[in-house]
Amino acid sequence: MADILLINSTEGLSAVTNATNLLSNSTEGVSAVTNATNLFSNVTSGLPGSASAANLISNVTSELPLKPIDTPLILNIISVIILAYILTYILSYILIHFADRISWYRPSLTMVIPLLKLLIYSVAFYYIITSVIELSLTQMIAFSGLFGAAIGFGLKDLFADIVGGIVIILEKPYQIGDKVTIGDKYGEVKNIGIRSTRLQSPSDEMVSVPNFTLFSQPVSSGNAGDLAMMVVIDLFVHPDSDEERAMKILRESLVTSKYVIISKKYPYTVLLEDFPFYKRIRAKGYVNDLRLEFEFKSEVTRRAWVEFRKSGIRPPTGVRAPGGGESGESLESVD
């Protein structure tokens, strides 16, 4: 296959050509590929190891047992790719919709989706390769060397993303359904693809983050595969406010919320911190479904401020309480 590609194609495959040229000009730094090529050349043509690299490559590629590339084969390859895509799409669709119905176990089920995709695309890739070329073990080694060099020098970003995707699937720093921050992007993971991860941002935008970002940017998951997620709610009150009363109100606003879940696994807490011009009452609690994160925050904040006003608890000077008259700006902090 490499032979055909190198001889018959000069466009669109420059990476492979470059890699081959590099191999022919260099005997250092690409020892694995060279060794494999040498091995293959020794086996197939009996040339001595000191022969030029260009001759070796030529011998390697000329001996590859390629099948004739005709229209049925091309159609076959295209249909395999389309079939793999449709299969992954249907399976993802079914699993995601089924996962939504079983609530508690949603993260466990969605975790399987990237694995299935990897499996399907791997099988499709293997099928395509074997339908074009029949490789022996030594040929496979030689081909892998060339292929690796091509990846390394020409398509490194694409394959870095694919490797990132595999790492995500195996290491599971996040899963479909998690609320994550990747770099400066925050949202719910809607899809983990072979090349990129798609996030749904709070403003309902779909953000595509290359999987390679995993290696270069910090990744934080708000729920780590769980359906519940901790939410931090900060309210700021005037320094002269009755802080005990304010804490009690926020605590009760949290524990009586329709979105909250509380147990030994999902504890809650309410904390007070004094600042020069205000006091911060912070509540930490778990929302029972991470998709309701913002509804949970909004409900607790709104109900707490209604009670604050009844109890004479004011916002800091110069700031209006939400819903307290002219302005409805939230007082939540972003740390």
Binding site: S103, E252, T256, K258
Partner: protein
Amino acid sequence: MADEDNPDSGGTVIGYERELADITGAIDRYGTGAPSHIAIVAEPMAGRTTLVAEIRRIYGDRVNYLPLEFVIMDSTVLDCSTYEGDIILIDNCQFLSTRKIGGFDVLDMFLRTQITSKKLFITTWNIHSWQYLCSVMNLDAYFPTIVTLNRMDMPVLKQVILSRYKPGEIRFLDEGVAERSMFFSVIHSTMRLPFTSAEISVPWIKLNFTLMLRKLPRKKRVQISLEDVILEKINRIAYGNPGVALMLWDESLKDNAISLSAITETPFSISLDTNESFILSVILSMESLHAKDLAAIAGSEMDIDRVIYRLVQQRLVRDNAGYYSIEPFALGPVTDYLRKTRRLW
């Protein structure tokens, strides 16, 4: 459950003998040191009333009985200093709190009264309300003795039901079929957790070997009791709840005869939004709530009339002169649904 309507009829509480022994043991130990307050925790219609009646029968004048029937707003109602008996039995303590801001004040006051009192408090709670309050305010720390009434298995339920009749008084007719496989049934084993006194009820699959044997060749068959098949169906529909099972039994019994075809199962297909699920969980936890209490819990953001209409229309909730409660036959499906959607923890 057998003598629910007549607390003074005498006899033991069928099915809850061990639980009753735990309670009487705790009461008998009372007298030395701080009282070991008792909490009796159960699902709606699971037999709390029967147990309370039995305690009152056994301890007579020592017991001051205070049944709560609606949400308590004024903590002075719970002033027990004037009571003469040394045991204070408060029924339906879920009415001491409501799920709203400021809804825990009466319960806080009650718990402070309880831990400073020399009297023994026996309290009964709805299990869902109990679990919520344990999560939110560590309620279980105030009760050294916690007795949980678990779901019943068929043999116990059979005892409960048939104890109301003379031997041979009920005829079991061989009509109809059990809609589901009777080869297995779900039982609830009680397990004690290590390093703690807490007990949990674990659902478990029990294989019914005798029923399996019916499938053997005729010569090897074992005759299975028809009444077991009928009672198994009743227990399955009732989710092991004795109150619901008794209600179903009474509805299915005609002229002291019962058959499989006479036992009808009401199907429930529950689909609710967040507000409806929340209000349903509140009603389940409180057992019975007035519309104005529901409106206070719902707050201004929720259209409570629409929510209640939806729940009543789906036959999950019933209206009893302004008080809303879960339909008895919907108790099992509603509980399952709310657990699945994480409204019950």
